[in-house]
């Protein structure tokens, strides 16, 4: 028994020493890599020469294309290539960009190669496509299909990088298909990433919004929400559709709330009665609707609005009170107009309004 335990510990120690050696070797190799990166390597010089030659002839030979495809199929070489390209982009940006653009076909070939590799390598290649601006003229169907497929990957990085290439391509159909693919695969992709991504779309955003909105019934709620946010942040023109959605009590709460936010940015008179109805509690809705509507009403000034907001200062929910006070305080009215509340008996209404008024004054003072 004693010997066995001792033996076990020695075995562990052996493994630990191996781990230690691995770490030391790694540090040493990393340091060597760092040293190498301080001196322009052969790869950098070779690429620079090629780019200069391309600048003179404006052409890349078939043999060179084949070489690029073969060499960059190995991720280590692709890393080195990227490292060199980063340096060259700093020193000769125009020529490097032109060279990379001429290599577009090679990168599509590489995309096909890398789609069979592990997720990290796939994501890396896609990242480089984005960095090099490749994908602007995405005209190969096969590549589009592959990118759409990659957008449905289980790795968030692969998904996001594939989407980035698609956004850059400006291809409406491909982006819509990618969204359908992700939704179908049940992939969670942060709403922030989706909305910001759509906003970076380099094609016709109006057309993209139309296409995505048309297919909303095939998408899960998170995706529809991101599309609505994209529409709100980029353009108007969906007033009627969003009002219809807002009125439909069967629709998801988050979507209806997003419709309310839309009307904060885009004033739409036919929505006003609905907004007032929500604030006055005629619509049987939760406090969330009233809280958002209290902010939306900043775009609908008027007596009725003021009256509805004043009432909401006594609402039992804190957020409704806060937002109503915020809108009232931001409406630019004289403080004297609110004396009835400030001197009134409702402590909650008084405190929240005073705070927002005071805050507004302090901000003005700071400016």
């Amino acid at each position: 028994m004693r010997l066995d335990v001792q033996l076990l510990i020695y075995v562990y120690m052996g493994i630990c020493v191996s781990l230690l050696l691995f770490n030391l070797c790694y540090i040493w190799l990393d340091a060597a890599d760092g040293r190498r990166s301080k001196h322009p390597g052969r790869s950098l010089l070779r690429l620079e020469k090629k780019i200069r030659a391309f600048g003179e002839t404006g052409q890349i030979g078939k043999k060179e294309h084949r070489q690029i495809q073969k060499r960059l199929s190995k991720v280590r070489r692709l890393e080195r290539f990227h490292w060199s390209m980063e340096k060259l982009m700093e020193n000769m940006p125009r020529e490097t960009a032109a060279y990379l653009s001429a290599c577009e076909g090679d990168f599509y070939y590489l995309a096909m190669v890398y789609q069979k590799k592990d997720e990290m390598q796939k994501a890396f290649l896609l990242k480089l496509l984005g960095v090099y601006g490749i994908g602007k003229s995405l005209h190969y169907d096969e590549i589009k299909k592959m990118l759409v497929k990659m957008a449905g990957s289980s790795s968030v990085y692969t998904r996001e990088n594939a989407l980035r290439v698609l956004y850059r391509s400006g291809n409406v159909e491909a982006v819509a298909r990618a969204f359908l693919q992700m939704s179908k695969n049940g992939m969670f992709h942060s709403g922030k990433l989706l909305t910001d991504g759509l906003l970076s779309f380099e094609g016709d955003k109006k057309q993209l919004a139309e296409e995505l909105w048309k297919r909303r019934d095939e998408l899960s709620v998170e995706y529809v929400l991101a599309i609505m946010q994209f529409i709100r942040m980029s353009q108007g023109g969906y007033e009627r559709a969003f009002l219809e959605l807002l009125k439909d009590k069967e629709r998801n709460q988050e979507l209806r709330l997003e419709a309310l936010r839309y009307f904060r940015k885009y004033r739409y008179e036919p929505a006003y009665p609905m907004l007032l109805a929500i604030m006055r509690g005629w619509q049987e809705v939760g406090w969330e609707y009233q809280a958002v509507t209290a902010l939306t009403l900043e775009n609908y000034p008027g007596e009725e609005t003021e009256e509805a907001l004043r009432k909401c200062l006594s609402h039992p929910n804190w957020y409704v009170r806060y937002n109503a006070a915020d809108t009232l305080a931001g409406a630019g009215m004289e403080e004297a107009r609110f004396m009835d509340i400030i001197e009134g008996e409702d402590r909650y209404a008084r405190e929240i309004l005073q705070y927002r008024l005071e805050w507004g004054k302090q901000r003005k003072g700071e400016k």
Binding site: M1, R2, V5, Q6, L8, I9, Y10, Y12, M13, I15, C16, V17, L19, L20, F22, N23, L24, Y26, I27, D30, A31, V75, E79, M120, Q121, A123, F124, K127, S155, V156, Y157, E160, F188, S190, K192, L193, D196, W318, Y348, E351, I352, Q354, Y355, E358, W359, Q362, R363, E366
Partner: protein, 467 residues
């Protein structure tokens, strides 16, 4: 009688062998899993597998402070330098008897404002609220009645405007990219309810604008040994537990939480000393009981620099608090122990903390007594015993060194040869001596337990070296 003792000691011997084998196996697995995870992470960074655009989740940074006049203004200054788009800073002065609040009001020209605070979790009454907008960041100072760190954090939660909050210590500095790093798990998985960052010791580091300028191993053995200990526990056991959503601790020095779920779970518990661990355990219980899909993650790329005690006295004070906090949290959530409902959290995490953290000093003390008895009864093979102890200590030291070097290469830190030498010495010293100091502290932690109740663990503060 002698026969009985002999039989008893033999069984005790078996128990200790099993205990040590289990511990060394756990340590080995955790270091291995941690190293592999770090290697994977390094590869992921090299291959640019990261969300590096300006994505953000709005975050409220809560800074509970009690008698922090020396460091608090610098802490806020460093927070204002963070590389992040949308955040606010909420400092809660928990009944300080020094000039903590005055320092802040003066340093940032804060204005008193009649702000009502919505009570969603219980906390002591506020006395005054100050606010100032600095650039894009709203800075709020709440001066309140003393109620302890957990109570101050609850006040911060009540005042926070954003859906996620960060808890941190007033003597800590967040690295410039730390918010970007700590929210990444939230962007990647919407089930993440809490995420811990990596706490590193700032005593021998120089930072400028939230970026590390120089780093070296200190000569102070108390600090040095803590560096080794932090590396081992953060990068080894926590990374391993991360693999199965089994982390029971997110350090109070730096953690991100989803506000909604923390409020639903009742906020921080002001009656415990280990409010950080207790909250994480409660989140496990709350989510499990309510069948909520959840994930508690750990982001080793999110770095917070925190001061470590540099004297034995301060260290003992701090560890006593930690050990009592551990006891209170584990006792309160004892239902997790070997409970099938909690899966690996109950079978591995809770079991590990119970046996090798909470009870280990008592088991070790028991070991010393039985060893004395065994010597008296002439049952000990002294040479084997000494050898066994040395091998075991060496094993621990090698594990710690592995964790240390794993961190060095994943964080791209350049280390001088003298620092590497110091690290080796500290590792050995930690395995041979430090654990005995800690064992003593843990055993004596329960003395005067009731008296210490909700006190802040006040340690001697030094100005932070933020350049």
């Amino acid at each position: 009688m002698t026969e009985f003792m002999r039989g008893f000691l033999i069984y005790v011997g078996y128990f200790f062998i099993a205990y040590l084998v289990m511990y060394s196996s756990f340590l080995f697995c955790s270091v291995l899993a941690g190293s592999l995870e770090l290697y994977r992470q390094k590869r992921r960074n090299r291959l640019k597998n990261e969300l590096d655009e300006d994505y953000y989740v709005p975050v409220s940074i809560l800074v509970p402070a009690h008698n922090e006049e020396v460091t608090v203004a610098d802490t806020v200054r460093s927070l204002l330098e963070l590389d992040y788009l949308l955040y606010e800073i909420v400092i809660v002065d928990d009944g300080s008897t020094d000039k903590t609040a005055e320092q802040l009001v003066h340093a940032f020209d804060m204005k008193k404002i009649a702000r009502p605070i919505r009570r969603q979790v219980f906390c002591q009454q506020e006395k005054a609220v100050y606010e100032v907008q600095i650039g894009k960041v709203l800075v709020t100072l709440i001066v309140k009645k003393n109620g302890g760190k957990a109570d101050a954090l609850n006040m911060g939660i009540n005042a926070a405007r954003y859906p996620y909050f960060i808890c941190m210590d007033a003597d800590s500095v967040l690295q410039a990219d730390s918010l970007k790093e700590i929210v990444k798990p939230v962007l990647e998985d919407h089930h993440v309810v809490a995420c811990g960052g990596l706490v590193r010791i700032s005593n021998s580091a120089k930072l400028r604008k939230g970026r590390l300028i120089t780093y070296h191993m200190p000569w102070n053995p108390i600090v040095g040994m803590q560096i080794m200990e932090y590396d081992r526990s953060f990068l080894a056991s926590r990374l391993m537990m991360n693999q199965f959503n089994g982390n029971l601790i997110i350090s109070g020095a730096f953690g991100l939480f989803q506000k909604k779920i923390v409020i639903s779970a009742g906020g921080y518990d002001a009656s415990t000393m280990g409010e950080d661990m207790e909250l994480v355990m409660r989140l496990h219980v709350f989510c499990q009981k309510n069948k909520l899909p959840y994930s508690i993650q750990y982001a080793p790329g999110a770095i917070c620099w925190s001061q470590a005690p540099s004297t034995v006295g301060d260290l003992m004070k701090q560890r006593r608090r930690w050990h009592l906090g551990l006891f209170q949290s584990m006792f309160r959530h004892r239902q997790m122990f070997l409970n099938r409902e909690f899966g690996m959290v109950g079978y591995v995490s809770y079991f590990y903390y119970l046996l090798y953290e909470l009870l280990s000093p008592f088991i070790e003390l028991f070991g010393v007594f039985t060893m004395v008895a065994a010597v008296v009864l002439n049952l000990v093979h002294v040479r084997f015993m000494v050898l066994f102890y040395l091998v075991y200590a060496l094993f621990g030291a090698v594990m710690t060194l592995t964790a240390f070097f794993a961190r060095i290469y994943t964080h791209n830190i350049t280390l001088r040869a003298s620092d590497a030498g110091k690290a080796v010495l500290m590792c050995i010293a930690e395995a041979l001596f430090f654990r005995f100091i800690l064992a003593y502290v843990r055993i004596t932690a329960f003395l005067g337990y009731k008296k210490r109740g909700k006190q802040w663990g006040s340690l001697k503060r030094e100005k932070i070296n933020i350049g």
